[in-house]
Amino acid sequence: MASENKFEPTNPTLKWIEDRLPLMGLIYNSIGGGYNVPRNLNYWWNFGVLAGFMMVVQIVTGIILAMHYIPNIDLAFDSVQHIKRDVNYGWLLQAIHANGASMFFIVVYVHILRGFYFGSYKAPREILWFLGIIIYLIMMATGFMGYVLPWGQMSFWGAKVITNLFSVFDFIPFIGDGIVNWLWGGFSVGQPTLNRFFSLHYLLPFVLVGVVILHVWALHIPGSTNPLGIDAKGKHDKIPFHPYYTAKDAFGLGVFIIFFAAFVFYIPDFLGHPDNYIKANPLVTPTHIVPEWYYLPFYAILRAIDNKLIGVLAMFSSILIMFAMPWLDGARVRSMRFRPLSRFFFWLFVANGIFLGYLGQRAPDDILWFGLVATSYAQMATFFYFAYFLIIMPLVSRMETTKPVPTSIAAAVLEANKKG
């Protein structure tokens, strides 16, 4: 959406610079007064900015931690302890970075589900949505490799389990046989593995920044969606990003920082696993190997299926299937506010995802309810997960009678105001 307000500096020096490199204008048109945004965004729209904030936090703390961390299998564990004990404010940086990963995933999960609920993946925002999925995949890879770096028991065994998954591709001619050894750089998870994970853990965040820039670029072509899901048309439908959304995002960010700080200062190890306070030992397998909480639903899908190859494919598909959402969902109305049946299934999907997460951290043969083991429940939940995308979404979106949609955003604001 072209902006009506143009950035024109009055200061001659700034004008001289702006005429040659319109960097300030770029910022102004991205997150300043030059970017016009629907006036009715609710607090769920804060989470994009929060995700950007977390990305910066992780990069800044990560760069400083990398100055003290040693990617050596004999020294890595102790170097993390050295950071926490001897480096000035190292305990703070380490706690921010370790909990920051979880916070990043929390805000991104909300951000993604916001997209589900309000139909943000629908035309004309498909590419914006694809870039978001790519960001999420890069985050998962980065988070996984970062968790390996402290070289605790769960780091080591998590790395072993996840890299071993690639052994299912051994049927591929020529490359299949050695794929896991190639990933490890040896015949087990060891020094070359740790070193390359460190290298990639430092690289991928900058790839992430690149994709995020594309994501924001793609966002600015059609502009933000909004809770009503209707296109902003009239001049009263939009307001400038600054000061309205800078003020709103600042408040949201403040609340989020309190949440974040509660973990960092009071329960810094709550989201971690105690076994990661034990140095990695290739000879001692932990009783339960569990990934970080943010991978648990996908871990449950992986383990739900008896056939390892199909399990791995199901796990990857469970994320890749989001690429098809713009076409799986055939509804003309974007927002689930006007699609009560879709809304009902959406919340079931969310509950099912949390349930999968719960199952992911149970042992597969744990007997849960009605004499059924965790794997049985995981199979049901996995079925629902895929059924949501492949059966429920295509059918419900095309058959559901939607509620009447307001004619414009401004009209809806006036209407709501009349009601008080």
Binding site: A250, G254, L414
Partner: protein, 278 residues
């Protein structure tokens, strides 16, 4: 509608979290759930219980250190638990630290504050050989490594509580029908209930410098406090900074809230909209 979404989202989250973490640590364990004790270090205003930690250091030095190393703890850090420079020098000097003299011979010298607590064994093999094949774990992060926190406080296991439960969990005789392996001891706090560690504490085994009675319970409590400090030496600094950050953020967020409200005042109500143009 927005309220509706918020409430539903919140409910879904709460219910999910409750289900998800209720059984997290309770998974068929043979170990008795450790009893909860009170520590001065607990809670958001938690402070290190210095006298207890100092007594715990004494228990470690006179009892535990016969088998357990403390590889990541330097003598200099004892300043954090109330020892002055001279006391630290004196403690360090009581230890022999391996070194190499100018002719290249391996020898030893008295410790200095920059040294770390030396290991009781030369290597893992030596440690196992002296302990019936079992390896006494290093104590540097032991309390954190035994802490299983859960959303349900009653199913959480705190590292200090575990240490106390283990120290006081020995039974002279295993329950009837329990098949105790040769050379192991029955302990109801330990996973599997048989442990290679000889019961390390008994009433009056040492004499506290401050005259506190050395019951097994007292020594367990003190050594738990000491090991908690060892595992998390920045706990107090962290909580003190946390309090400042929280107080600042609460005030700042209130200001941001009213700023936001004021910025949005007209726009929120649509007073800027000309109804004829809608």
């Amino acid at each position: 509608m927005l309220k509706n979404i918020k409430i539903k989202g919140l409910l879904a989250g709460l219910v999910g979290a409750t289900i998800a973490f209720s059984g997290a640590t309770a998974a068929e364990s043979t170990a008795k759930h450790p009893e909860r004790h009170h520590y001065e270090s607990a809670g958001i205003f938690g402070k290190f219980d210095i006298p207890s930690i100092q007594r715990g250091l004494q228990v470690y030095r006179e009892v535990c250190s016969a088998c357990h190393s403390l590889n990541l703890v330097a003598f200099r850090t004892l300043g954090d638990i109330g020892y002055n420079e001279d006391e630290i020098k004196a403690i360090a000097a009581e230890y022999d630290i391996d070194t190499i003299d100018e002719t290249g011979e391996v020898t030893s010298r008295p410790g200095i504050p920059a040294d770390y607590f030396p290991s009781p064994y030369a290597n893992e093999q030596a440690a196992r050989a002296s302990n019936n094949g079992a390896l006494p774990p290093d104590f540097s992060t032991i309390v954190k490594a035994r802490e299983h926190l859960s959303f349900m406080p009653w199913s959480s296991v705190y590292g200090e509580d575990y240490v106390i439960a283990l120290m006081t969990g020995y039974h002279d005789e295993p329950p009837a029908g329990f098949d105790l392996l040769e050379g192991l001891f029955y302990n109801d706090a330990f996973e599997g209930n048989q442990i290679a560690m000889t019961p390390p504490l008994s009433d009056g085994i040492i004499e506290y410098a401050d005259g506190t009675e050395t019951t097994v319970e007292q020594m367990s409590y003190d050594v738990a406090n000491f090991l908690a400090w060892v595992s998390d030496p920045t706990m107090q600094a962290r909580k003190e900074m946390g309090l400042k950050v929280m107080l600042f953020m609460f005030v700042f967020v209130v200001l941001l809230y009213f700023t936001n409200k004021r910025v949005w005042k007209k726009v929120k109500k649509g007073e800027d909209i000309d109804p004829s143009e809608v």
